[in-house]
């Protein structure tokens, strides 16, 4: 009993002064929101009454921090509206609150109150816990960690949201002596259920324990990954992307490249029943990010195939995808209108070709799509998801159209990538890989399946 209580107190102590680095970014803002809520939930515990909790939201410019609290406020409100039954219980002892609207407003104010936005990294010098979500650049991460570590007398713990760089590498380079843990959220952190936890050989056991508790309190699904560049998520996603690029290049022997890209995107979205095609996903993630993560993995000898001239060429030409500050999608493999792809790039000329005019060619090339296609969105809610998928892939298997044939090949390659991760010891088992794809990438099924049998 004493032991448990001690641990619990330790957990709360660590949360009393926290900093998020890169707090205004796509990942940072979500991590900030979730952490602010966790701090508040701790603060509302009876034994923590009147204790102060501070969450520094650190980013490079006021410009970037502008709008951050607005986002937090909107998200906290959504949360409180949805969880009103629990929110009322949390504030049961506050006599001035009567209506749901009172409770929701109070909750939102309290979440926002905890956050102290600043452009000064010095704020992190007083923190016990630092959550890093800056861009995926080892040099930058090392520099920041070193700077904070050498100026902070609390012997703080660090979480990094890196999606590819090995934790032991950062730990060693920044001289953190095991005070670093990989806590990899998925985009957007407020929505995606998955968090990959990566412990390096150095990582302090009490830090690993703390991180597990923290992620559990956020009600996320934890999948542990070995400390291997790319971890499970990118370990699969990057190989899957290379498969898509390779297929487009192969199809380009017979059809023009823009059509080949559109064709592969259609197969990976509609035939494989995914939320987005593989090239649209690259645009969403950011082509430069994909290119960079591949390089991180390639440089560390993870897989020789993880390199693409096509990606290099696009990034060199300034075609990078990603999002504008208002959340709208930037041009990448596709050009977007209202979030939907309307034109596809010709990498030879960097001009976009209208998808409307191309789509009939794509359809002709793929051949008639078999009847009974299942839709990704309806699958998510279906109670007989497994049966529907089995039927669909069975139909594809017995269909001789080009589209069906290519889809089944892709399905097999995606499975191979999953099995490779288990074989290499990155994932403990196939189930973990499936969980990552389903809860981090919103897939309706995991890649380690037997749908092709």
């Amino acid at each position: 009993m004493v032991n448990t209580k001690h641990k619990f107190m330790h957990y709360t102590e660590k949360l009393k002064n926290v900093s998020v680095l890169g707090a205004a970014g796509k990942m940072g803002s979500g991590i900030l929101l979730l952490t602010a809520q966790e701090l508040l939930h701790q603060k509302l515990q009876h034994e923590n009454k009147n204790q102060q909790f501070v969450l520094n939201a650190i980013d490079v410019s006021h410009n970037a921090l502008d709008g951050l609290l607005k986002y937090v406020r909107a998200q906290a409100q959504k949360f409180a509206e949805k969880k009103i039954v629990q929110i009322r219980k949390m504030y049961a002892d506050q006599k001035q609150l009567h209506e749901n609207a009172d409770f929701i407003q109070k909750y939102v104010e309290d979440v926002v109150d905890i956050i102290k936005p600043t452009t000064r990294i010095e704020a992190a010098y007083d923190s016990n816990l630092i959550l890093e979500a800056v861009s995926e650049n080892p040099d930058l991460k090392n520099k920041i960690f070193r700077q904070i570590s050498s100026n902070n007398n609390n012997n703080p713990w660090f979480f990094t949201n890196t999606s590819s760089i090995p934790i032991h590498e950062i730990d060693t380079n920044a001289n953190l002596n095991g005070r670093l843990m990989g806590v990899h959220f998925y985009n957007p952190p407020a929505v995606q259920k998955l968090v990959e936890l990566i412990k390096s050989e150095q990582t302090l056991p009490e830090l690993a324990e703390f991180a597990t508790q923290y992620v559990k309190n956020l009600k996320k699904i934890i999948v542990p990954s070995a400390d291997v560049a790319g971890f499970i998520g990118n370990g699969h996603y990057m190989r899957d992307t290379i498969n898509g690029i390779d297929l487009a290049i192969k199809l380009n022997l017979k059809i023009p490249l823009p059509q080949a890209i559109a064709t592969v995107d259609t197969i990976t979205r509609d035939y494989l029943v995914r939320p987005m095609g593989i090239f649209q996903l690259a645009d969403y993630v950011g082509i430069d990010v994909v290119q960079y993560i591949m390089k991180v993995m390639h440089d560390r000898g993870i897989d020789d195939n993880l390199q693409s001239d096509l990606l290099d060429k696009l990034v060199e030409s300034g075609i990078k995808g990603g999002q504008n500050s208002d959340g709208s999608q930037k041009d990448g493999f596709f050009r977007y209108e209202k979030g939907r792809p309307v034109a596809v790039i010709n990498p030879e000329t960097m001009q976009y070709a209208n998808l409307n005019t191309l789509s009939s060619k794509v359809d002709t090339y793929l051949g008639e799509k078999p009847e009974g296609a299942v839709k990704w969105k309806s699958l998510l809610k279906a109670t007989d998801k497994e049966d529907q998928l089995r039927n669909w892939f069975n139909t594809l298997k017995n269909d001789s159209s080009k589209g069906s044939e290519l889809a089944m090949e892709y399905l097999q390659k995606s499975k191979n990538a999953a099995l490779q991760l288990v074989k290499d010891g990155v994932a403990a088992n196939e189930e973990d890989v499936n969980t990552v794809l389903m809860t981090g990438f919103f897939h309706a099924y995991g890649p380690a399946n037997d749908f092709m049998n």
């Binding site: 509206e81 009103i84 039954v85 629990q86 929110i87 009322r88 006599k95 609150l97 009567h98 209506e99 749901n100 609207a101 929701i104």
Partner: protein, 416 residues
């Protein structure tokens, strides 16, 4: 007063659509008509059936919470917007929580009895989709005592009627009670499918009874003992009906068989600051029903159809007992034996009731009267039931809050 000193009639009922989740045309993020639209549509429907508004002497609007849902008060003065013929005539609005519609009817009845009017246009309206349900719960909680809001459930009234369900489960068995709730839901949906203004008109679920039965209550998201299928939904809608004296009928050339005669009413309130005594009973309802039956000089065996205030399935079952159709604890059997179904002994809520047709709170009482009028005069279209000539009476039971105001009216075809 135990007998009516004057003959009172109702005719020319009209309902707008009950708009909200479930209707195909409903989209939470798209703009929707406001309260004035519903008042106008319902009022115009009735006026058209009367052949004009010139001979309407006054109007009354029943509404619960437009000042909060729509930031709109002073509803009585909307009447001339419905028809210029109502300009400078008396118009008022009345409120009694979810019995506001019933209060609108009662107010009209009293004007006829007082001989200050021969024709009253009675309306009821509520537009609730203006706020999210989580805030709507705050507004509806105004039907309870505000001092109890703090300790109440986030979804205040679902919480109250969940407590009643829990008490009933404990006393009479959960399994059978939940079966009766599921059957009630099924009847509500099937009746609503026959009425094109009903909120559940577009419901196509193949087995609503199993759906309701197999959905377990989730206390973290809703209540301890009730699910969303036990609950009426959030609705926008209005209803209207004309209340008349004999002279009113003559002035409008309405034949008796197209009107219903009001043969009794009962209106009762209970102390809002007191908690309900026995959770498995609706004492105010029982009281109001007794009064109405006494005034009408009938017994439960004379009832051919009933519109009951099924804001929740749990209210419907104990309501059946409050009416006296089943002994305490046997309301469940009454439903499971099929007596309340549209082909049963006493069809209940023949256009879906609050769960099936919808529950635009302030409109509900008037909607009940419209449905009874339709059924007793052969105007119910696809939803028409057979009325046994031996049991020619219809009854509406409109409740405000947790059994705090109840308005009961008993009707018969005016020609019978």
């Amino acid at each position: 007063m135990t007998t009516l000193r004057k003959k009172i009639y109702m005719t020319a009922g009209h309902n707008t659509v009950s708009l909200g989740p479930g209707r195909k045309e409903f989209h939470p993020k798209k703009p929707r008509p406001g309260i004035e639209h519903y008042l106008k549509e319902a009022g115009e429907g009735t006026i058209k059936k009367l052949g004009g508004a010139e001979k309407i002497d006054e109007s009354v609007v029943g509404n619960f919470m437009a000042p909060r849902y729509n930031k709109q008060g002073h509803l009585g003065a909307f009447a001339p917007m419905i028809s210029p013929a109502l300009q400078y005539k008396p118009g008022l609005s009345v409120e009694a929580a979810c019995a506001s519609g019933g209060m609108s009817l009662m107010t009209g009845i009293k004007s006829i009895l007082a001989e200050t009017a021969d024709t009253v246009l009675s309306l009821g309206v509520e537009v609730q989709n203006s706020v999210k349900a989580v805030y709507g719960a705050d507004i509806l909680a105004g039907a309870g005592w505000f001092q109890e809001r703090k300790d109440g459930h986030a979804h205040f009234f679902p919480g109250q009627f969940s407590d009643r369900a829990g008490a009933y489960f404990k006393k009479f068995g959960r399994e059978k009670t939940r079966k009766a709730y599921a059957r009630w839901y099924k009847n509500a949906i099937e009746n609503a499918r026959l009425c094109e203004t009903a909120q559940e008109y577009h419901n196509t679920h193949t087995d609503p009874e199993s759906l309701a039965l197999n959905t377990e209550p989730n206390p973290r998201a809703f209540t301890d003992h009730l699910t969303v299928f036990d609950s009426s939904k959030v609705s926008d809608g209005a209803s209207a009906i004309a209340i008349m004296s004999e002279e009113g009928l003559k002035k409008h050339n309405i034949s008796l068989n197209q009107a219903v005669q009001i043969v009794g009413y009962g209106h009762a309130v209970e102390d809002l600051t007191q908690k309900p005594g026995e959770l498995t009973k609706l004492n105010t309802m029982q009281n109001a029903v007794k009064k109405a039956m006494k005034m009408a000089g009938i017994t439960k065996n004379d009832l051919g159809t009933v519109e009951i205030h099924d804001c929740f399935t749990s209210a419907a079952i104990i309501g059946i007992e409050a009416i006296g159709l089943a002994p305490h604890g046997k309301g469940t059997d009454f439903v499971l034996d099929g007596h309340t179904a549209r082909d049963g002994k006493i069809p209940f809520n023949t256009t879906g009731g609050l769960i099936g047709w919808g529950h635009p709170t302030g409109a509900t009482g008037v909607h009940m009267a419209v449905t009874i009028w339709e059924q007793l005069t052969g105007n119910a279209g696809d939803a028409q039931i057979n009325i046994d000539p031996k049991r020619p009476y219809g009854m509406s039971v409109n409740m405000g809050g947790d059994d705090k105001t109840v308005m009961v009216i008993i009707y018969k075809n005016a020609a019978s």
